[in-house]
């Protein structure tokens, strides 16, 4: 046991672990706040869909030798609006709209990567993520965007609550449903782009979904659900990074596994309580 604490203490001395902790915790906070609204509105897989689009944008950025985040953020934001439009105007079901944009993203990514002469190590690193390699710039971006998410969800808490519970009633109540939906989806696209560096394209949606569904198992009030999802998400990042360091496992996947463990515990508590 002592050895584990020594290893944790040792890990905290490294600048890359410190950066990973800061970026991971802020990312987790942003994802979990948005996750509660997205899960309850049956839009939780939008994280997955947008992550697939960001795979194409990263491939494009690598082809153009550009900073991936700079290319990804505007394109993924546009893709998120496309999903909303498809859902609202073209009467395509939400999950089908996500599937459509998602598969388009992957197909484009593969074509771009193939045009560039095949998959390289950089592109693969975005598939699986590497929180330990986040740069100082990425840490700052994560902090700024996650704090923006926290601020906006706090500012719009009651509007988001009303829309999540009953969109039509919210509209009659004078809430600007379309505008708020766009803000929610835009914030999600920002968080997803940041998230692919941490857990990768394939796992980023888990940061959105798992803390929310774990919290939904054990609490019955809306504010408590958001708060508990945040606690689960941050605890998963901290435990996940230390566990991956001690056990020599990939950090992103370990964070997801810890998140899943929290869900299993919450699910069991819910079952026991009946």
């Amino acid at each position: 046991m002592m050895n584990i604490f020594q290893q944790i203490h040792e890990a905290l001395q490294y600048a890359f672990i410190q950066r990973a902790m800061i970026a991971g915790c802020f990312m987790a906070l942003g994802c979990s706040f948005l996750g509660v609204f997205l899960v309850l509105r049956r839009f939780s897989l939008i994280g997955d869909g947008l992550a697939h689009v960001s795979f194409a944008t990263v491939a494009l950025a690598l082809l153009l030798h550009a900073q991936p985040m700079v290319i990804s953020i505007p394109i993924v934001a546009l893709a998120s609006f496309a999903i909303l439009k498809l859902n609202e105007k073209a009467a395509v079901y939400g999950d089908a709209a996500i599937g459509l944009v998602s598969s388009l993203g992957i197909a484009l990514g593969v074509i771009i990567a193939s045009t560039a002469g095949g998959f390289n190590v950089d592109l693969f690193s975005y598939l699986f993520g590497n929180i330990l390699s986040v740069t100082g710039f990425e840490v700052w971006m994560t902090v700024v965007i996650s704090l923006s998410v926290a601020f906006v969800t706090g500012l719009l808490y009651h509007d988001l609550f009303a829309i999540t519970f009953d969109e039509e009633y919210a509209q009659v109540s004078g809430i600007k449903v379309r505008l708020i939906n766009r803000i929610l989806i835009l914030l999600t696209s920002f968080i997803v782009v940041l998230g692919i560096k941490i857990v990768g394209t394939l796992l980023v949606s888990s940061l959105i979904i798992l803390p929310a569904i774990a919290a939904l198992q054990v609490v019955r009030s809306f504010k408590a659900t958001i708060a508990l999802a945040g606690v689960f998400a941050i605890a998963s990042v901290i435990i996940g990074i230390f566990a991956s360091y001690v056990l020599n496992l990939p950090s992103g996947a370990t964070i997801v596994m810890v998140n899943f463990l929290f869900f299993v515990i919450a699910f069991s508590i819910n079952r026991i309580k009946g």
Binding site: F161, F165, E168, V172, G174, I175, L216, R220, S221
Partner: protein, 246 residues
């Protein structure tokens, strides 16, 4: 005074007529039952009145147009499809009822102790104050519907629009719900527009009946409807039972 006046209202969905040439007046204090077969445009009418759908024609409220009239403050709406669809939705009954005051708040919406007191008052008036801390999904269909009605009433609307509110309720809960709406109409002079297939209850409680089938087939008192030819067209031989009960 006409609280709602509709002139030559038409609504189309992708060039298919859902409603055409609807003109009617609802007076303050009226209790209008809106009936008609499936697909007759009942919900479309409600949504047009609420400004949720584009339409042709003119709808005014106390003589004011949509832009002049604060729909959110004066109208309480209980949508179709409720009771609560997501049984795991993480909110207490009081949280849901308190959301009824959002319409009267400036941006950013913030609730204070007075709002929660108003929510509790609305729940008390409907006899559900004991449910305030219970999760919404753990309540029965009848209890949920009363919670949603309390949400609608918390800002004291002058007009109450109810779209098939009793669809998921057992007969006892349905009767209790209608009684509550009747009290609001009779004692608090709330104007009620109730969309329903439950013609027996319409006959029992509503002062007027609007029979729609993509246009107005009949609009008047229930007594005159019982004597009309339109009654037997739609309701068939059951009409005598319904009118007799009334």
């Amino acid at each position: 005074m006409n609280i709602i006046e509709i002139k030559n209202l038409s609504v189309k969905y992708r060039n298919v007529k859902a409603l055409g040439g609807v003109s009617l007046q609802v007076k303050a204090g009226d209790y209008v039952g809106v009936v008609g077969p499936n697909g007759s445009g009942k919900t479309t009418l409600v949504k047009a009145i609420l400004g949720l759908l584009p339409f042709e024609g003119r709808i005014t409220f106390q003589g004011m147009s949509f832009s002049q009239f604060r729909m959110d403050r004066h109208v309480g709406y209980l949508p179709q499809k409720m009771a609560v669809q997501d049984m795991r939705f993480p909110a207490t009954a009081k949280e849901i009822v308190a959301s009824g005051v959002y319409c009267c708040k400036k941006f950013p919406i913030r609730l204070d102790a007075h709002d929660y007191t108003a929510a509790e008052e609305a729940m008390r008036s409907l006899g559900i104050i004991n449910l305030k801390d219970r999760p919404i999904g753990k309540l029965s269909g009848g209890q949920q519907q009363r919670v949603l009605l309390a949400r609608t009433l918390v800002h004291s609307p002058e007009i109450l629009i109810l779209d098939e509110p009793t669809v998921a309720l057992d007969p006892q809960s349905r009767e209790a719900f209608y009684k509550t709406v009747e009290i609001l109409n009779k004692e608090k002079k709330v104007t009620v527009l109730l969309v329903t297939h439950d013609v027996v209850s319409v006959g029992k409680y509503a002062s007027k009946l609007l029979y729609l089938d993509r246009e107005v087939i009949f609009y008047g008192t229930f007594e005159s409807f019982c004597k009309s030819a339109q009654m037997s067209d739609y309701f068939g031989p059951g009409q005598h039972v319904i009118c007799h009960r009334h």
